[in-house]
């Protein structure tokens, strides 16, 4: 199943991936990471197509995509 | 080596640099050093080197920063106003521990000043010149022969210590013609040992970074204290001077470059009249011959600095003698050139005090 992995050590919770995802797969999680940011996480994993659009806009190169 | 040539000072400087392995020059025209870039514009291509007429002195020195970081023997030259613009780059080069060679063929200042020979850039040269704590090795030739032979010494020192070194000359030395004999075999830069810090071609090694900044608290202080270590070593090991008839001298002249030639004339005139004049000519202005001056001042109670500036060299002399001798100044700034007779008159006045 296509999926993304967010590196919580790098994610700064900017939300750019959230709006870039055409299928609303991603949202910021409610708990902040040790970095002090709310990292992105998959909220509707079943909808992910592995299109990589989220990873393309991520300024912190925090997303890896599997298919 | 061996053959005697007749050359202009500026040309000797340029030819000396090429023979010392210089393969990259960038500069911007300014009188009285124009013969340097003019000469190198045809001479460097002849040996497979690069000559660039830069858009400004700021660009020129930064081209050196890049070329030196890649391991080349590099040079730039200018006169006061241009050297002022180069201070930015020289400071970065010093912070980044890169070897470069440059020359300042001084003219009258401040401001646009004039194009007459002067020595007003002594402070600028010997105190670093730009922002931050750093030094530059400064060699002061007083003949065309030294103009041609000092670039090699500068490269050797610059690379030994990974820092900037310069020739501080003046318009008179740049423009006059004298016989010259190069005292070293031409250097083939391709045969120099590889520089373990240089950038480019990272195959098979870790990547390298060259920079002059460190924003981590305390780190820059450590970096700068490292500079101090090397500066201390240079002050111990690399001082050069010429002492003329100092053994029995009762009055000591201190002068460098063109002023030292004039002072030598005054010395001879004085000796003819039975006045025991000696001369100490610093060849390295930084590191300054502090120790020998300290020793001489124990015995010689009157010292006269002769300089084509308002009184800059005199500060280093005073620091060296630590009040043990009385130090007098004869300074002619902004294009004024003293004569031997003029200096002799002053010597006589001082002696009759």
């Amino acid at each position: 199943m296509p999926r993304i992995e967010v590196d919580v050590n790098r994610c700064k919770g900017c939300e750019l991936c959230v709006v870039a995802c055409p299928y609303k797969v991603i949202s910021l999680s409610g708990k902040f990471a040790h970095t002090g940011y709310y990292p992105a996480a998959m909220v509707q994993p079943e909808k992910c197509t592995g299109c990589t659009l989220c990873a393309l806009v991520c300024p912190d190169v925090a997303i890896e995509v599997y298919k | 080596m061996g053959e005697k040539l007749l050359m202009k000072g500026n040309e000797a400087l340029a030819e000396g640099a090429v023979r010392a392995g210089c393969r990259f020059f960038s500069g911007y025209p300014i009188t009285p050093q124009n013969e340097v870039p003019e000469y190198l514009s045809w001479r460097l291509p002849e040996v497979g080197g690069t000559f660039i007429q830069a858009e400004s002195e700021v660009a020129a020195i930064n081209m050196l920063y890049g070329a030196s970081a890649c391991g080349a023997r590099v040079m730039t030259s200018s006169s006061g106003p241009g050297i002022s613009l180069k201070q930015e780059g020289i400071s970065y080069i010093s912070g980044a521990n890169l070897p470069i060679f440059y020359a300042n063929v001084m003219r009258g200042g401040p401001g646009l000043g004039n194009i007459a020979p002067a020595q007003g850039d002594y402070y600028q040269s010997t105190r670093g010149g730009g922002h931050g704590d750093y030094r530059v090795i400064v060699l002061a030739p007083n003949s065309v022969s030294e103009m041609g032979n000092f670039p090699k010494r500068c490269y050797d020192l610059a690379e030994k210590y990974r820092m900037a070194s310069m020739v501080l000359a003046d318009g008179l030395l740049g423009q006059m013609m004298e016989p010259i004999e190069f005292d070293f075999e031409p250097v083939d830069p391709a045969k120099l040992p590889p520089k373990e810090w240089a950038l480019g071609n990272a195959e098979g090694r870790e990547r390298r970074i060259i920079r002059s900044y460190d924003l981590k608290p305390g780190y820059l202080e450590k970096m700068t204290l490292k500079l101090l270590e090397k500066y201390n070593k240079i002050e111990e090991q690399e001082v050069k001077y010429e002492a003329v008839q100092t053994e029995d001298a009762e009055i000591l002249l201190v002068a460098y470059g063109t002023s030292s030639r004039i002072s030598k004339e005054a010395l001879m005139l004085g000796r003819k009249e039975g006045i025991k004049v000696g001369l100490l000519r610093p060849i390295t202005l930084w590191p300054f011959p502090t120790k020998i001056l300290g020793e001489l001042s124990g015995r010689i109670k009157k010292i006269l600095t002769v300089e084509m500036s308002l009184g800059q060299l005199i500060d280093d002399v005073k620091l060296a003698v630590e009040g043990k001798s009385r130090v007098y100044l004869h300074g002619r700034p902004s294009g004024g050139i003293p004569t031997g007779e003029e200096v002799l008159e002053i010597i006589k006045n001082i002696c009759s005090e």
Binding site: P59, V65, K67 | A60, M63, Y65, R207, R208, I209, I210
Partner: protein
């Protein structure tokens, strides 16, 4: 079997990037790093970090790096490329660095046709020093030194670098792209790769201007910032290629002439 279809490029180091959330520098770093890695030139690439927020680029790009004075990247690149013609040399610069203090170095490196690549990040502001007006700040745009918005009567108009440089003979590749949306990121990558290819093929000077967002000093959220790029910056700074190397010939050695031919 599961396959990784997007992974972090080896062109970047593992160091944590100290940019603000949503800052455009990060994406642009990735695109440059991917380009040199994919083109197989990373081991012979030398990068130049600017003075600006991306001063730390020397820690982020996984190749030889140097950090010079504010705005002098193109001059440093010139020195490097001339003594190491086989190396790929790029200078990464912000708008203050490139179009203000370093304008002379930029224009002249371009005019000489130096065989270097410039990555020019136009975020219309001085990021590092806290949001002062840049040469590229839009008319009416607020900054800490144009608190009432850039007034063209006192501060003139923003500089369009690609247009300016395209009046020169020598440059081979000039393009403007942006990174505010996935489609734009894809185009930006293409342009950056092309710029490096121009250098690899020894075709001359290449520069890519990248419109970028600075949420912090624009005092907006990252989402508002990318919207501002779309709505305000792109209309003023048209995207596209301004000069391409196709059909460009190596200049022939000129005949030696006197300034005024004697009859």
């Amino acid at each position: 079997m599961e396959k990784k279809v997007f992974s972090r490029t080896k062109g970047l180091t593992e160091v944590f990037m100290r940019y603000c959330p949503g800052c455009g520098h990060g994406v642009i770093h990735r695109l440059v790093a991917e380009a040199i890695e994919e083109l197989g030139v990373r081991k012979r690439t030398i990068g130049i970090a600017p003075v600006g927020c991306s001063v730390f680029a020397d820690e982020y790009f996984n190749c030889d790096m140097i950090q010079p004075a504010h705005g002098r990247g193109p001059a440093v690149a010139t020195g490097m490329k001339r003594v190491k013609p086989d190396c790929i040399v790029f200078s990464y610069q912000g708008d203050g660095d490139l179009a203000s203090i370093g304008m002379a170095e930029t224009v002249h490196a371009a005019a000489r046709g130096e065989r270097i690549t410039i990555i020019f990040v136009n975020n219309a502001i001085y990021g590092m020093t806290g949001g002062q007006m840049a040469p590229t700040t839009l008319v009416g745009m607020k900054s800490t030194t144009s608190p009432f918005g850039r007034d063209p009567r006192v501060a003139g108009y923003p500089i369009k670098v690609c247009e300016l440089l395209s009046t020169l003979e020598a440059p081979s590749y000039l393009a403007r792209v942006s990174v505010h949306k996935p489609a734009n990121v894809i185009k930006a990558k293409k342009a950056i790769k092309k710029a490096f290819q121009v250098q690899i093929d020894d075709l001359g000077f290449s520069l890519v201007e990248i419109l970028s967002q600075c949420p912090t000093d624009w005092f907006v959220t990252p989402l508002q910032a990318v919207e501002y790029v779309e709505k305000a910056m792109v209309p003023f700074y048209p995207l596209g290629e301004f000069k391409t190397p196709e059909g460009k010939k190596e200049p022939a050695k000129a005949e030696t002439k006197m300034a005024v031919e004697k009859g």
